[in-house]
């Protein structure tokens, strides 16, 4: 079943085969969790968000049309959930101008057996710099530079014109550069 197309698995799910949806969860769990983590900044929140995204996707599966990309449809649900969640509680960032807090975060990540990320200062600083971007800029940067989407694909997920998506990406990249520049200088870059 693991080799079956998304559309076939969706049809099976709609005909009552819940196990088929389990294959979809396994297939997309990393992408959805990673998006949620980079958007929300906290592992527990990301876990909760990713679960809710899959449950929402399951409930709304009948509205998915095979003419579009399932991955874009699913990530649109994830993006929407994260944006809603951020309205209630902002990104859980460690202040990047506080070296002690960054060092503590790095040590925490290194001692967490499940957190195979954020173990270096550069990773923590980059993650937290992402968190200081406006939500839409961060979302576009995550889709394009972490999920490897083209601007066109990101525009499909966001339901926005490609030009608007590019504009968010450019502003986000410019801001990231400013935020990370001091750390680059410290490293002689």
């Amino acid at each position: 079943m693991a080799e079956e197309s998304d559309d076939l698995l969706i049809r099976r799910t709609l005909h009552g085969d819940v196990d088929a949806f389990g294959v979809i969860v396994d297939r997309y769990r990393s992408r959805v969790f990673n998006l949620a983590y980079r958007m929300l900044g906290d592992r527990d929140r990301a876990d909760e968000a990713a679960q809710e995204v899959f449950i929402r996707a399951y409930t709304a599966l009948g509205s998915y049309r095979p003419s579009g990309s399932f991955s874009s449809w699913l990530l649109a649900i994830a993006a929407n959930y994260c944006i809603d969640s951020l309205r209630q509680e902002p990104f859980a960032a460690v202040p990047i101008d506080n070296p002690k807090a960054v060092a503590t975060a790095v040590a925490g990540a290194a001692s967490d057996p499940h957190a195979a990320y954020g173990r270096t200062e550069t990773q923590q600083l980059t993650h937290n710099a992402l968190g200081r971007l406006p939500d839409m800029q961060r979302l576009v940067i995550v889709l394009v530079h972490i999920h490897g989407m083209s601007y066109q694909q990101a525009a499909e997920v966001l339901g926005q014109p490609v030009g608007t998506v590019k504009s968010h990406a450019h502003r986000g990249r410019a801001r990231l550069k400013r935020l990370l520049a001091p750390h680059m200088e410290e490293n002689g870059l």
Binding site: L14, V18, R38, T59, S63, H114, Y117, Q123, R173
Partner: protein, 194 residues
Amino acid sequence: MRCWQVRRQLLRYEDGDLSPQQAAQIQGHLRACPACRGELARGRTAVAWVEALDEAEAAPDFSDRVMATIRSGQVTEPAGQRESVLPLWPVAAAMGVGGLVLAAFVGLWAVSVDFSALGSTLVAWGSDAGQAAAAISVMGKALVLLVEAALRVFTTPALVLIALDLLLLGVTLLLLRLWNARRRALRIGTMLAM
């Protein structure tokens, strides 16, 4: 070009959005200006650091927890599957055919066919093979009447009503389809409104 002009175009230059002439001007400036080269390098480094972020992995039991929630019965079953299983066009076609059959009956009624005579002859054909020739003759007559009815029905007010009815039905189905598509687009748009 001045530095501020180049820096304003650097991201578009990186994305390949500039014309060859504009790109050549930027390249020319970059060759001569270490400060702008540094700016370009810092921008590339920031993107490289983002792209090098480790993939955040979900917990090993993540899928099991999601599926346990779904199987618990607390989650609504996928909605709208009826909509996806039953496309609108076959329904419209079936209703259209039904409308045409209705039109034929109205036409037959309009030309005042003697249904009782036709019916009794058909019954006789079923019980007595000897009257097959007569029955075939009646069937032929019925066929002629049907064709005649079909021709006549196109001139009766009933057809106008039926045609209008079918037209209205078609437009309604089309609007329903468009409305469904718009509702879906709005749903995605609303989800992403920020």
